[in-house]
């Protein structure tokens, strides 16, 4: 009998995806003591007490059921109201509550990308974007914009004329660079998007953490009505990372597609987290203001300190500094590894965020001022020892 062809056990698309660049680095850290970690992309504040208390109370009352696939009506109404501050008048019916922006991002790609479609990603970019786009069968094309350079009309149109991309992925304020865009800059990007007939997936998870100018959602700009998927959530602004709660705001056609996948895969976001999110939007503003002010103080302090030894642009948002280490002659990975082994400070090598991140390291300043001071001193000692 003819031997049957061997079946591949895993999705072949996965073979195209490299393991995360920081995996090896993560292994180095395990077991080390007294490491000051600037490698953590999450707030060091616990979830504000009023939010936790509201969730605890809901559990005491036995509120543990499924919700509608869309998410709680009350929450979607609050989100729609809240998003007006970013210039978007959203309809609660155009919102789906998700298990964090990570799920929202995956849904948005799966809802819009057909195999072979080009997906344009400005780089350095958050680590999940490229792999998830590849899993949908998308062809990823990156635009290199290491800081302080910024995405412009010309860059988008030039890249687009060659490949005619369907999707542009935006993330601002950016993880890892901290770059954000003013309304005027976004209008130029929007012009390019209309001209090239693209859909924007706009990850605005750091929208509350801006220090130079307030955040504007590209979805609220003229001409963007039917072509933007907004992703946002509660992890960074309200220190609710582990509660996995986010949302997608999208035009009808895309939202229907997003909802279809969400209802067959996740069904709905956890109700406890949804209840916490309602409290966050209704009463969490003062805690948010305090956290933002504290991040800004840390940014000012830390970036000035870093600039004494490494060229570092002043981030406009999020909580990451992205200093250049090119002068040291080390690669990002070498730098991060030696800094860890010699000075016990953990940072993320820039190339974890794509090739354009080579020559940089990402330092999260979501740690206490005392630790930042110590980390900055150790980084200085390390850099000086290389010279």
């Amino acid at each position: 009998m003819e031997k049957m062809k061997e079946k591949k056990k895993v999705n072949e698309k996965l073979l195209e995806i490299k393991p995360s660049g920081i995996r090896r680095f993560f292994d180095l850290i395990i077991g080390r003591e007294d490491v000051i970690s600037l490698g953590v992309g999450e707030p060091d504040f616990p979830t504000p007490w009023r939010i936790r208390e509201e969730m605890i109370y809901s559990l005491e009352k036995g509120i543990t059921s499924y919700t509608s696939n869309y998410g709680l009506e009350e929450l979607r109404v609050e989100i729609a109201k809240y998003y007006r501050k970013f210039g978007l008048d959203a309809n609660p019916d155009n919102i789906v509550v998700t298990s964090g922006v990570s799920e929202g991002f995956d849904l948005s790609l799966r809802a819009t990308v057909n195999p072979g479609d080009f997906v344009l990603i400005p780089e350095p970019s958050y680590v999940s974007y490229q792999p998830l786009a590849i899993l949908c069968g998308g062809n990823v094309v990156t635009i290199s914009i290491p800081p302080p350079s910024r995405l412009t009309y010309e860059e988008i149109t030039t890249a687009s004329r060659m490949i005619d991309p369907k999707i542009l992925i935006l993330n601002y304020p950016s993880n890892p660079t901290g770059v954000s865009y003013s309304k005027k800059e976004l209008e130029e990007i929007a012009d390019a998007v209309v001209e090239m007939d693209m859909i924007v997936i706009s990850d605005e998870i750091y929208s509350e953490l801006t220090y130079k100018f307030p955040h504007t959602s590209i979805a609220g700009l003229n001409g963007m009505e039917d072509r933007v998927v907004v992703l946002n959530g509660f992890s960074k602004s309200f220190a609710m990372t582990g509660l996995r709660i986010g949302y997608v705001i999208a035009p009808d056609e895309i939202l229907d597609a997003v909802l279809k996948i969400h209802q067959y895969s996740m069904l709905c976001a956890p109700i406890t987290s949804q209840i916490g999110a309602i409290e966050a939007l209704r009463n969490g503003e003062s805690e948010l203001d305090e956290m933002r002010a504290e991040y800004m103080r840390r940014r000012n302090f830390f970036v000035r300190k870093l600039n004494e030894v490494l060229e570092t642009h002043m981030p406009e948002g999020a909580f990451y500094a992205f200093p250049s280490i090119k002068d040291t002659g080390l690669s990002s990975e070498e730098f991060a590894e030696r800094l860890l082994l010699e000075k016990n400070v953990a940072v993320v090598p820039g190339n974890a965020f794509g090739e354009s991140g080579e020559g940089y390291i990402r330092c999260a300043y979501a740690v206490s001022m005392d630790k930042l001071r110590e980390a900055a001193d150790r980084i200085s000692e390390f850099v000086n020892s290389l010279r």
Partner: protein, 165 residues
């Protein structure tokens, strides 16, 4: 930043941590070293900075203190108003705080002593005997959980992983 905002920002930092150096405050706020020095010395001169203090968890060190909150009801006369009475009470070194409050009593005072006997003696001999004092109601503090906005217990350790992209 407006002048007033600069001042508030510097004072907030010092209120949170009186040990910040002038250089650190300058780095954090983006102000020059000279501006920070000027703001601090102005505030010291105009007494908007009253004192630099440290909050200590004495219980942790095994030091024993007795703290009592005393409600005080007073009789006012033409010669003696609230301010006069409060000033008189406030001058005792045992008294840590004197507040005019609404409700059944007129003042709430915070007294700190070495022992129950100490505090009781102070209340009965010094406060209650003031001619304007009608009556007092003493509450001894059994345990303190939060002082000056600082939690005196910790249940919120950092559980984050060392690396999360």
């Amino acid at each position: 930043m407006h002048e007033a905002d600069k001042k508030v920002e510097v004072l907030k930092l010092l209120e949170d941590n009186a040990r910040y150096s002038v250089d650190e405050i300058a780095d954090i706020t983006g102000l020059s070293r000279e501006d920070v020095e000027k703001i601090i010395s102005e505030c010291e001169n105009e007494k908007s900075i009253l004192k630099y203090k440290t909050i200590i968890d004495w219980e942790k060190l095994g030091e024993e203190f007795v703290v009592a909150l005393i409600d005080v009801r007073v009789n006012l006369t033409r010669e003696k108003n609230y301010d006069d009475i409060a000033r008189r009470i406030a001058k005792f070194p045992e008294v840590h705080a004197v507040r005019l409050v609404s409700g059944e009593y007129d003042f709430q005072i915070v007294v700190k002593g070495k022992s129950l006997k100490d505090v009781s003696f102070f209340v009965s001999e010094k406060v209650s005997t003031l001619p304007e004092v009608r009556d007092t109601n003493t509450h001894f503090v059994l345990k303190s959980y939060k002082e000056e906005g600082v939690l005196l217990f910790s249940d919120e350790e950092d559980r984050r992983l060392a690396i999360v992209p």
